[in-house]
């Protein structure tokens, strides 16, 4: 049976990297006594996959991972058992049974929404809302991405589905998060800074992932709504 678990990660836990989060959950699943399925061989591991890695320093209210179990009583019991195995800064938000033919979490990801919350002051931009609109209505949104092979010129326009201010100290966006066209929120912010000719250091705002979406017949729905 395939199970999808939605969780949040915040506060002190934002310093824990992706691989360590996987280790944390492997141990938590054992502590919770979940009858999880293991791979074969001499060093069997739990069948577990994450929707997308979350960078160190980021918070999230919409992280997902899939596991396979051999047996379970109910999703409520499983959530209660997992709750007991958590630490401050990780919260189980939902436990859902997936249809057998469901794609795995990682393959399902199409988009993600983020909140970029300014930490100590407002964004240093007059008419933030208007400037974001003007930024988004450009014909192209060029972005020079640095890769191992050198600088690659991208156009972010296609992958930004929504971009708006949320008061003077926050920006919301929904962007492509699929494996082929993933856009990091920091990339959008950098491009905006060049456009508006302002400086907003990456460390001056907290990135919070709000939700991870899959594409269901042309519509974005949260990953646990399949």
């Amino acid at each position: 049976m395939k199970i999808r678990i939605k969780f949040s990660k915040y506060g002190i836990m934002k310093y824990i990297g992706h691989l360590d989060m996987m280790r944390f959950f492997q141990k938590a699943i054992r502590r919770a006594g979940i009858d999880v399925k293991y791979s074969e061989g001499f060093s069997p591991h739990q069948i577990m996959s994450f929707a997308a890695p979350l960078g160190v320093g980021m918070e999230s209210r919409g992280e997902y991972m899939d596991i396979e179990v051999l047996s379970m009583t109910s999703t409520q019991d499983m959530k209660a058992a997992l709750d007991q195995a958590m630490v401050e800064g990780v919260e189980i938000l939902s436990v859902t049974v997936l249809p057998d033919n469901a794609k795995n979490a990682m393959a399902s990801v199409a988009a993600a929404s983020y909140l970029l919350q300014k930490k100590e002051s407002d964004y240093p931009v007059d008419d933030l809302s208007g400037k974001l609109q003007a930024f988004l209505s450009q014909e192209t949104i060029p972005y020079a991405k640095e890769t191992k092979k050198g600088v690659v010129e991208l156009d972010l326009k296609e992958g930004i589905y929504e971009l708006a201010s949320d008061g003077p100290d926050a920006v919301r966006m929904t962007v492509n998060a699929s494996s082929s066209g993933n856009i990091k929120p920091g990339m959008v912010m950098d491009a905006f800074c060049s456009f508006a000719d302002v400086e907003i250091p990456a460390g001056s705002y907290q990135i919070i992932k709000l939700e991870t979406y899959t594409d269901l017949a042309g519509e974005f729905v949260p990953l646990d709504a399949v």
Binding site: G11, I12, G17, D20, F24, A28, S43
Partner: protein, 622 residues
Amino acid sequence: MRKTALSEEILLQVEKPARYIGNEVNSVVKNREDVAVRFAMCFPDVYEIGMSHLGIQILYSMFNSWEDVWCERVYSPWVDLDRIMRQQNIPLFGLESQEPVKDMDFLGITLQYEMCYTNILQILDLAQIPFLATERGEDMPIVIGGGPCTYNPEPIADFFDLFYIGEGETQYRRLLDWYVENRTQGGTRQDFLRGAAQIPGIYVPQFYEEMYYEDGTVKERRKRYEELPDTIRKEIVTDVSDTYYPLKPVVPFIKVTQDRVVLEIQRGCIRGCRFCQAGQIYRPVRERDADVLKRYAVEMLQSTGHEEISLSSLSSSDYSQLNELLEFLIEACGRKHVNISLPSLRIDAFSLDVMSKVQDVKKSSLTFAPEAGSQRLRDVINKGLTEEVILKGAALAFEGGWTRVKLYFMLGLPTETEEDIWGIGELSNKIAATFFETVPKDKRVNGKVQIVTSTSFFIPKPFTPFQWASMCTKEEFLEKAYQTKKGIMEQLNQKSIKYNWHEADVSVLEGVFARGDRRVAPVILEAYRRGCLFDSWSEYYKNDVWLKCFEDCGVDIGFYTTRERSDDERFPWDFIDCGVTRQFLLREWKKAQEGIVSPNCQTQCQGCGAGTFQCGICPTAS
């Protein structure tokens, strides 16, 4: 929400911020208003090493089981954070409260190896506590040292208010009670130390003075107060099945060296290898009951979620209930997909059978520790292992499918000759030959066998029969390693043998610290001031700086290392009583020189002196 001592900017800048934030599963957070004593427990090395240490987990859980005590963990900030803390004047903090160590009542530092000594000074420095115990004010934490290195605490005596000699489970309650009582009475730091010096196992170095002869050897020790004890007797848990054990050990977020449940099956060792300090200072051997261990295993796997469990002891094959315990673990762990990592077991049919059940034979390797290349020298060091046993074990293993063998030897042992060194290559070669004789060509995996032969350099340690022995110079060590390499190269099967050897510089320094006295302390302080830190990490070890510090401080390395001691020389550590007597050690030293083997505790009691503790194997030994 939990606060952090370090700002977000710093935490996102340093390597592995998880080392510094606490919040791990099973870590203990108490309300500071509810406790009378706050204890910072420190392992002076990086988090991943320190978190792997069982002793700290035992004491941490014991302290926190007491309602009036809050024990927190402290590890050495890695070099990147070290730099930032100095620049920004950030005081060292406990992981649980994220509050400064200097505001706590005690700072306990475990001393597991000599090469951590400059890290002690880093801890004190970053905690903003004066280096010298005599310069600490009333409001500073009491700095306590514990662990194996306290069996010769003299080189670092100036830096500690007191040392706890022996096993921590027995006297800490009394020590903390006295601390609270003294504080309630309005007593001073000196009052506390004077009272503490009356508690068994507690040594307050500033109350004693060491006097030397003109030739540099120890003449006598003077004590400042009449009531002080002349000798400090080590503390010991008499019944290890009925004591504290960390059933909810802290589970780190990041991968650490020992990322598993650890079951300590026994303390002490019956063997009495003459180079081994642990084999003497932890006597007598005391087994933990198998039923207790089974219960611990189940509870600890449940409370941690670890996917691996390992047994801990000095010689697991000597544990009398090993068979029963392993059968249980294989059954219980197999069901839960828990791996069993086996300690080095004596290689025989039983252990090979067990290993084949819990390991992938093709991927795992077998370990033998003959320690010396010839039977003559193995008799000198009292290592019972014979060539016949090794070759028989190897043949059995090769038949079982193993193709990798690790061999451990020491170079520079007392009485060592060229033939002994040649014997290392020869024995490695015989094991390779055994493979080709045992396994027919068509059954050889990849067609070959892999022997990895490693040598370390022998360092004489206090409370061993070799405490009188001369240690080699760096040049002698390197020549011996060269001879070993040459000896291996000349073997028929040399292509199957890989040779590794240990650094020589750092061994010499370890030799100085191991048998040093109070005159070594200024060198350690000076080396720290000149940037020495993390000396056990070869990439940070600065040998030239160390050598210059010895020279500038006027301390002669050879006095502590190469000098052979006379039978009646007074040693800096003689005031410690670890049970094993000096007469026994001297007797063993003489027997070693004649190449006479001593039977182990199981076979025949040798009257070492540990019998006075009246526990473990001693009351029943023949």
